[in-house]
């Protein structure tokens, strides 16, 4: 099989498991996400279990994987190298937090919910993509 085909299949499997995980955990329901963020309401701890389990699992997984010389079907591991904390990072994260708190959607669950497409979800996705274009148009310094 051609390497490009194998990479495509590996990408699909990764997305499929990710989407299954989001749906089984209930993260494809904004009500669950907002229930977690609403500390002063009837608090819903589910998201804490999801993020905790995902981070611990992946922490162990990365430990095992990253000691290898290279990935199975690519030449090298492509890991972020930046270490600086700048305004773009914190400001971006803060803007994202506002949008997440308003809607209960972060990018993964929003796209994973396409099978249950509604008018508001279309608006969310279109505006999100517009936001990505906008972010690219804002230069890194200045």
């Amino acid at each position: 099989m051609k390497r490009e085909t194998i990479k495509t299949i590996m990408g699909y499997i990764a997305g499929l498991i990710f989407g299954l995980g989001l749906a089984i955990s209930g993260m494809t329901d904004p009500a669950r996400v907002l229930g977690f963020l609403d500390l002063a309401g009837a608090w819903d701890p589910t998201l804490m279990f999801v993020l905790g389990a995902a981070v611990v699992t992946n922490f162990i997984g990365y430990r095992l994987v990253l000691r290898r010389p290279h990935p199975l079907f690519a030449e090298r591991f492509q890991l972020p190298t930046r270490q600086d904390i700048d305004g773009r990072l914190i400001g971006g994260a803060a803007l994202f937090g506002i949008g997440w708190g308003l809607s209960g959607y972060c990018p993964g669950p929003a796209f994973a919910s396409i099978a249950g497409l509604t008018g508001p979800l279309v608006a969310m996705l279109v505006a999100m993509v517009a936001g990505w274009f906008l972010a690219r148009a804002i230069p890194a310094r200045g």
């Binding site: 990764a14 990710f18 299954l20 749906a23 669950r32 997984g61 095992l64 508001p120």
Partner: protein, 157 residues
């Protein structure tokens, strides 16, 4: 406390972690959704658009597989969207609110180089300080936002 919902959260979380490990093990890539989809849609194609597109199709088909299995494995807390049963929940607001929220999520994850998956699931697992700062920031701001909307303004989400 709803133990079934929590248990499903744990199981789903393990799957998300396994997905991130899988993507690193096979393709050497971080499983950040905003990065994967944002690059796919806004950057000039560089020859590795195919696995990104396949990832997105997989992401969308995950919940569909669960729906085909009957939907009872879903975990919605509110109302599910009709055709999806218990698998996909209804949006928490109308078109106008989602346009604002979507723009903020896109712009914010674009500027901040990541979202809940890239900074949260992958960055925290790498013990990246940048990701810890970003994750703490968007969590706190989202909690404050929900507090303001639900308990100070009232209504809305």
């Amino acid at each position: 406390m709803d133990w079934t919902a929590s248990l499903q959260g744990l199981i789903g979380g393990v799957l998300i972690g396994l997905s991130a490990t899988w993507l690193m093990a096979t393709l050497g890539r971080i499983a950040g959704i905003s990065g994967i989809i944002g690059t796919l849609l806004t950057a000039r194609p560089q020859g590795d658009s195919t696995w990104r597109l396949a990832f997105v199709l997989g992401l969308i088909s995950g919940p569909v597989v669960l729906m085909l299995l009957g939907g009872s494995l879903g975990n919605v807390a509110g109302n599910g969207v009709d055709v999806t049963g218990e698998v996909i929940g209804e949006p928490a607001g109308g078109v106008a609110l989602m346009l604002v929220a979507g723009l903020l999520v896109g712009l914010g994850t674009g500027l901040g180089s990541g979202c809940t998956s890239g900074h949260g699931v992958c960055g925290l697992a790498r013990l990246s300080v940048r990701s810890m700062v970003a994750t703490l920031t968007f969590l706190v701001v989202a909690i404050v936002t929900v507090f303001v909307v639900r308990h100070m303004i009232g209504g809305g989400a």
